[in-house]
């Protein structure tokens, strides 16, 4: 195994010549009349930690199961490492899966569970024992080797499931809500562990999750899914800072959406008039025609207090503080700027004993930079 690759430089999706390791080409899956997955195409590169993110019923799990071979696509093809595996049954695919429920065999010990896959490929006994030892070491569960699954805690089971799915050195590891069954603290600790593990062994991971925070922390790239379709594929930063639609913007983190229309496009900036008359000047590389209805999405932490508020100035609004949530590191302020619209703003609590800068019912002026948000038409 090579040393950990530099993740900043490992961005094969930027390289037009790079060969995708997993290619999902126009895959559709119908259950009866329902499209669980609707014409999805996706390229995943070797060594990626790729996340399929979406609410329940968005088709992410079905897509994962099709990669494992547990579901047959109604249409489309799936390639893994250049080989068309669409018709290959699950037991012959170079792919392993970690199930959401872990699906550990209850009548086998930890050791036997990990060994199961190796036995199926008729690996010689000595080699098998060595590999099992390696896996138990890797996941630090050697002490549990003789236990049965029902004698393990949730976190231990998760490790056993991971060891079992990694034992065969699959080309691709699929993880269905890998941290879903763990409690919050354990989940946060395991997120980093999972990423470190993946970087160490260099196997391509594809994971399914409904937890955007989990996806943001772990992934090289995220595909946001809705109603069987992929809405956006990008790095966590890309998804967060440059969502391509209202849906993605709202799904990941909090966002303020200002509805309005394009007044004028000047170079790569657009002048927008929002409902209520607020004028905005936002960066918008994609030119839009005058009058196009748009939403401007601005994250709460990109909004700051305006020192010199001027009536009618660009990118400024004024309102009354209605709610304050103190979270320790930051405080969240809900500021009402009109009868219909509330603006969410987060400010870092920099000075521990500073007098509360803002209080309830106080009138505040807020502003943001033209580069602090995105202009959305979808």
């Amino acid at each position: 195994m090579a040393g950990p690759p530099d993740r900043r430089r490992l961005e094969p999706w930027q390289d037009p010549k790079a060969e995708p390791y997993v290619r999902i080409a126009g895959v559709t899956k119908k259950f009866g009349d329902v499209y669980a997955v609707d014409n999805v195409s996706l390229d995943i590169f070797q060594g990626e930690f790729f996340s399929l993110l979406g609410g329940s019923g968005c088709g992410k799990t079905t897509l994962l199961r099709m990669l494992a071979g547990l579901e047959q696509p109604t249409q489309g093809r799936i390639f893994i490492d250049g080989v068309d595996v669409t018709e290959v049954p699950p037991y012959s695919r170079p792919v392993n899966m970690m199930f959401q429920s872990y699906a550990l065999f209850p009548h086998m010990t930890v050791e036997q569970n990990v060994e199961f896959g190796l036995k199926q490929e008729k690996m010689p006994r000595a080699e098998r024992a060595e590999r099992v030892g390696e896996m138990l070491d890797l996941l630090k569960i050697t002490a549990l080797r003789k236990r049965r699954p029902d004698q393990l805690s949730g976190g231990q089971r998760q490790r056993v499931a991971l060891a079992r799915s990694l034992a065969k050195h699959p080309k691709l590891l699929l993880l269905d809500e890998p941290l879903g069954a763990l409690d919050k603290r354990l989940r946060e600790a395991t997120q980093f562990e999972l990423v470190n593990l993946q970087e160490r062994i260099g196997i391509t991971f594809v994971t399914v999750t409904h937890d955007q925070e989990e996806a943001m922390t772990m992934s090289t790239r995220i595909a946001v899914m809705d109603a069987g379709q992929i809405i956006q594929v990008d790095t966590p930063t890309g998804i967060y800072e440059f969502p391509n639609s209202r849906l993605v913007a709202q799904f990941i983190g909090s966002v303020n959406l200002f509805e309005g229309k394009i007044i004028e496009q000047i170079g790569d900036e657009a002048i927008i008039e929002a409902h209520g008359g607020t004028m905005m000047r936002m960066r918008s590389p994609m030119p839009h025609a005058t009058g196009t209805p748009v939403s401007v999405a601005i994250r709460p932490e990109k909004i700051r207090l305006a020192r010199d508020y001027q009536e009618g100035a660009v990118n400024q609004v004024r309102g009354v503080v209605e709610d304050i949530a103190y979270l320790g590191d930051v405080s969240i302020y809900h500021v009402r700027i009109s009868a219909e619209q509330m603006v969410e703003m987060t400010l870092a609590n920099v000075h521990p004993r500073a007098e509360q800068a803002l209080t309830w019912d106080q009138e505040v002026a807020m502003e943001w930079a033209p580069t602090s948000g995105v202009v959305l038409t979808d």
Binding site: L70, P90, Y91, F99, S101, A103, L104, F116, Q120, R164
Partner: protein, 318 residues
């Protein structure tokens, strides 16, 4: 609850206190009702009858009411005479006829349990994996025959199996046979009747077990490179072992002592303990001998099953 009852005031007003007093005395007698009540049940309906039967087995037949001699007698001068007649037990041991009946009973029970398992397992599996709505209907079909009398169902088999019965007529009509097959009053008829009657007792515990199985385990097995037949042997079968054991016991134990089916469908070659018990009790009126057979049958059944249960417990403890 455990606080001492206040001293009951004297006089007729003490009536309520009297009831409380007797309740307390009862609680004294039964300190652990959760164990005492089943234990009492067992003593009353198993241990006592067993002792009575054991006692009869060591008596001698007599033309009297009841038809056996008492085990003990007060002789003159306060001497208690106890006569233990071990001949019956020895006779059962030494007479080949009884041994043959025992062995045949075990054989029939063994073969039928195996057949029930082979037929019942796929059926239970199919029901357990059927869609929810069809499952109820299929289970209903298994239970439905119980709504008719057991005796009538066995009788019906006579009509099917007899030389001029449904089965033979059908086979003759198909041209598969020229002369009717002699099935009725043979061991084969006993097998058919027993398997038919006891199949639900195999299917129901197996179904209960298989329906609880997590099907993602099979997906996990497939994902790890295991084809369906192997996954069945490695995952489904071991996990359904408790169901197999439960179903097999429910079939094996009653079949060893089965009387009605061998009596109605069996012939001279299908000598079974149940039939012999009947003959000795009601035909020959030899209660002591019949009791001896019953006791030996019990020992023959209980000892291996207790041993097996011990073994299973030790296996689980490991």
């Amino acid at each position: 609850m455990s606080a001492p009852a206040p001293p009951s005031p004297p006089g007729p007003a003490a009536n309520g206190g009297g009831i409380r007093h007797s309740l307390q005395r009862l609680r004294h007698l039964l300190p652990y009702p959760d164990i005492a009540i089943p234990a009492l049940w067992l003593v009353l309906f198993f241990v006592l009858p067993f002792i009575i039967v054991l006692q009869i087995s060591m008596a001698e037949p007599a033309l009297a009411q009841p038809p056996y001699t008492p085990l003990w007698q007060w002789a003159t001068d306060g001497v208690l005479q106890i006569r233990l007649n071990l001949q019956n037990v020895l006779l059962v041991w030494s007479d080949d006829l009884y041994l043959a009946a025992f062995l045949n009973s075990l054989w029939v029970a063994f073969v039928c349990t195996l057949l029930c398992l082979l037929i019942g397992y796929p059926m239970a599996y199919a029901i357990a994996t059927a869609p929810e709505r069809r499952r109820v209907a299929l289970l209903m079909l298994i239970i439905l025959p119980f709504w008719t009398s057991f005796l009538i169902r066995v009788y019906a088999w006579i009509g099917i199996l007899k030389p001029e019965g449904l089965l033979n007529n059908f086979l003759l009509w198909l041209g598969l046979i020229d002369t009717p097959l002699a099935i009725l009053h043979t061991q084969t008829a006993v097998f058919i009747g027993v398997v038919y009657s006891y199949l639900p007792f195999m299917i129901l515990p197996l179904y209960a077990n298989l329906a609880r199985m997590d099907l993602t385990l099979l997906e996990a097995a497939a994902d790890l490179g295991c084809r369906a037949p192997r996954a069945f042997l490695r995952i489904t079968l071991p996990l359904s072992l408790p169901g197999i054991v439960a179903g097999s016991m429910l079939v094996f134990i009653p079949v060893v002592g089965e009387f009605v089916i061998p009596d109605l469908l069996g012939g001279p070659d299908s000598l079974m303990v149940g039939r012999m018990l009947w003959t000795e009790f009601f035909g020959n009126k030899d209660w002591p001998l019949a009791s001896a057979i019953a006791i030996l049958l019990l020992i023959l059944l209980v000892v291996p099953f207790v041993a097996m249960q011990r073994w299973q417990q030790r296996l689980e403890a490991d």
